[in-house]
Amino acid sequence: DRAKTIYEKSKPGRRAFVAPELDVPSHALPEKFRRAEPPKLPEIAEPEIVRHYNRLSKRNFDLDTGFYPLGSCTMKHNPKLHERVAALPGNSRLHPLQNPKRAQGALQLMHELQGALSEVAGLPHVSLQPSAGSHGELAGVLLTRAYFEDRGDQRTKILTPDTSHGTNPATVTMGGYEVVKVGTDEHGGVDVEDLRAKADEQVACLMLTNPNTLGVFDRNIEEIAKIVHGVGATLYYDGANLNAVMGRTRPGDMGFDIVHFNLHKTFTQPHGGGGPGAGPIAVSDRMEPYLTKPQVVKRDDGTFDLDYDRPKSIGRLRGFQGNYGVFVRSYAYILSLGSDGLQEASETAVLNANYLLAKLRALGVTEYLPPAYDRLCMHEFVLSGAPMKKELDLRTLDLAKRLLDHGFHPPTVYFPLLVDEALLIEPTETETMETLDLFAEALANILREGAEDPEIARNAPYGTPVRRLDEAGAAKRPVIRQPL
């Protein structure tokens, strides 16, 4: 019964919807425009819709149930207050084309959020429009393009480190640039010499994450900025890992020209099973003229408005003003934590990561899963499962699947690509020491069990709603909708 779809629970004539009365003369569309057959949507009453999705929900693991240390995803607690304030009718039933005069609360909220993000980034101008991190990246690349075009400077390449998120190179392509990879040095940072060699007048931008996806803060950031700015290129900050450094250092202070925020990471919008999120950007003065439009501005009389009068703007990246519902939640978070709280969040995130790493060392886990870089980490760290694979014949994937039976969501696996059998672990600041201890012990137990009988992990999981799924088969003969 459990894997039946809602369509398989449908029965002709059942319904949940009761239509409002037809209170005007009936009017039919001309035959040529009218759909001949109703779409085969489910026919089902409310109680069974509720049960269907309720039961489906129970086949999901979630953050409110357990530890979710997915590296680079910042699965921190989603405060419940945020749902309450986002649902206020003044927010949730506010039409995006309401005249700004009658949407002053929303515009003020956006303006204040812009201010707060600007302070966190150390960059003076913010656009809230991009819908997600990848969208923010695209905005950044398009800003860079506009900036150079405005100067009559034709550039063709964008640099991305080989540790970068896949989104970075994908975005570069969509922005019409060529991707040039930059190597990683022995400390996990940018290979400065490689950068120096590749940074020329054809380079429009370097896209960087700092701390990067190895959980490492690049100590050469000042030098890197100098090299990039030396060839006139822009320096782009992928904000995926901003949760490590709030109140400690700021992208703007490091020399970045453009930053995107993942509000759903650092500023705790619930991930929703893969969306929605929001990817605002902050930029330096030189990039400001090109920011998206409309921009939320405060007029001299103290009112808030949408400014469309931006002749050099790259234009709009989406409909309306952005994911306002996300802004409400993130702004609530900033108000709740305040200056101290944001800094404490980052500090605790880094402390938790280092503690977990220390605990894994203490339990001997790092014998089989050594850290890719043997140093203090920031808010996340990478282990390599290569020794485990060699000595126990267990892959990182097996370890991850066996973790499911222990009630944990596994870390990110097989990323970053340059670490063999990688396991990227980000505990976040909202986890307790006790949880970190339990997780470390679970890893230790799995390794112990694997030393005795690796078959157990290789066939894991066992206690989940389904067991290992045939992903290859799914991709080979894709069944992506149900025939009705």
């Binding site: 894997a3 779809t5 949940a16 037809l22 209170d23 005007v24 009017h27 039919a28 425009f33 009218r34 759909r35 779409p39 089902i44 509720v50 999705y53 086949r59 999901n60 979630d62 304030v85 206020l88 927010n91 949730s92 039409h95 084309l97 309401q98 990246e137 896949g166 989104t167 994908a170 975005t171 100590r219 991930h271 929703g272 099973g273 893969g274 929605p276 998206t292 990246l317 409909g319 309306f320 994911n323 306002y324 519902g325 409400v328 108000l335 305040g338 101290d340 800094q343 605790t348 402390l351 938790n352 280092n354 790493l357 991850a400 499911l404 969501h409 020491m433 389904v466 067991r467 894709p478």
Partner: protein, 438 residues
């Protein structure tokens, strides 16, 4: 302000000791002196929950929402009734708080929802494949344009004047680095006046119904658009597809659009979702996430993210798109909404909208100083030409608790009708408009 963190001072000391450092500062030793902030962030101190609530409630109270006035605003997002069961399901933490379903064994709920969603979109649009959703409507148009450009290797986009301006602008912005050009196909009496399409055209973009509410004659337009191998891309509103013939009936290549009308709040413009459906040929070129059916090692039915080799985390610069999120939660609202409406309901609702919208157009165009911008059949929205500046008329009505619609240019007003606007409401609008135009 530690309400969301658990580490007490004692915990901190114990953890620092385990790490083998003295202070928190030691953990940030890698941050070079020169880039340390060295001061507190210049933000107010944290507040108790009740104060955050009060502040945000007071801000929300400064907005005039569809709860506060009689609103006929539309133009891309619509005040449809969102049934309560959607809130109740979306607020379940199991849907609200997980990440993208990377571990399918513990994410079957979310994956099955994606599969059900894809089925619904495919069924509504009459196109065989759908992804699991993209950001929202206009950026879906841009994504379709990227597909058309990379697929056809051609560089001209023809965009109907009836395409939503946000979609047009988003396409312009997004395509800045593609080496493509955009040209406008004009409207005549509300309909896209497409003549012949050159060999170098990558795609033709239409809205159905278009921005001014008119139902385009896709039967006529499609063969013209597709004659030279250009892709026909139609932006449509899924809620109208209970009564309108679907894009799949007209050899449309890609159907995209804004999903807000399916059970999503207005939320001042987002989050919502965009849908993306296409012909089978484009399945491996589609952007975003796709869920597929499969079986587990015990033969049980299950669902996984599939065709991931299109995606940026594997293909990097060769990915079909840079997008890595679907709007899973909003798409869930969509599929719940469609189940709630049901097979008969979506037709009943569509017919109600058609009848009320035509009634509204007849009633309003009978007023002095109001005429129709076009006389095409409409579903839920229509455009009026006013004898006075539209912005002024809107202000006059707003003072009387009525938001008459969205002003376009000098004298055009887009009026949207949902099932929450009764005959009495429409008559009230007529009354206020009469005064405004007197």
């Amino acid at each position: 302000m530690s309400r969301y963190t658990s580490a007490t001072e004692a915990d901190r000391q114990e953890m620092l000791a385990a790490v083998g450092v003295e202070t928190i500062d030691d953990l940030f030793a890698d941050v070079p002196e020169g880039v340390r902030l060295g001061r507190a962030l210049d933000l107010p101190p944290g507040k108790p929950e009740q104060e955050v609530y009060a502040k945000l409630r007071d801000l929300a109270a400064k907005n005039v929402s569809a709860e506060d006035e009689l609103s006929f605003l539309g133009a891309g997002m619509y005040d449809h009734y969102v049934p309560a069961l959607i809130d109740s399901i979306l607020q379940r933490s199991e849907f609200l708080t997980p990440y993208t379903p990377y571990q399918p064994e513990i994410s079957q709920g979310g994956l099955q929802v994606m599969f059900e969603y894809q089925t619904a979109i495919s069924e509504l649009t009459g196109l065989p494949v759908s992804n699991a959703s993209v950001y929202e409507g206009p950026s879906a148009i841009a994504a379709a344009g990227w597909l058309a450009h990379t697929h056809t290797k051609k560089t001209r986009f023809l965009v109907s004047e009836g395409l939503h301006p946000h979609s047009r602008e988003t396409l312009e912005t997004t395509s800045a680095g593609w080496g493509t050009t955009i040209e406008t196909i004009p409207l005549a009496n509300g309909l896209t006046d497409l003549q012949d399409v050159g060999d170098d055209v990558a795609a033709v973009f239409l809205g159905q119904p278009n921005f001014y509410g008119a139902i385009e004659d896709l039967e006529t337009l499609s063969p013209i658009a597709r004659a030279t191998g250009a892709l026909l891309i139609v932006q449509c509103d899924p809620l109208t597809l209970g009564v309108l013939r679907p894009p799949g009936d007209f050899d449309v290549d890609i159907a995209v659009g804004e999903g807000q009308t399916l059970g999503n709040r207005l939320d001042f413009g987002g989050p919502s979702f965009g849908f993306f459906a296409a012909k089978q040929d484009y399945i491996r070129r589609m952007p975003g996430r796709i869920a597929g059916e499969t079986t587990d090692v015990d033969g049980r039915r299950g669902f996984v993210l599939t065709l991931q080799t299109r995606e940026q985390h594997i293909r990097r610069e060769k990915a079909t798109h840079n997008i890595c999120t679907s709007q899973a939660l909003n798409a869930l609202a969509g599929v719940i909404y469609l189940s709630w409406l049901g097979r008969e309901g979506i037709v009943e609702l569509g017919e109600l909208l058609v009848s009320r919208t035509h009634y509204a157009r007849e009633t309003l165009t009978a007023l002095d100083g109001v005429e129709a911008l076009h006389d095409q059949p409409v579903v839920r929205e229509f455009a009026l030409k006013l004898a006075k500046p539209a912005a002024e008329v809107v202000e006059f009505c707003a003072e009387r608790g009525v938001n008459p619609g969205h002003p376009v240019g000098e004298d055009v007003l887009l009026v949207a009708i949902t099932e929450q606007r009764s005959k009495a409401d429409i008559d009230r609008l007529a009354e206020v408009l009469t005064e405004a135009l007197a």
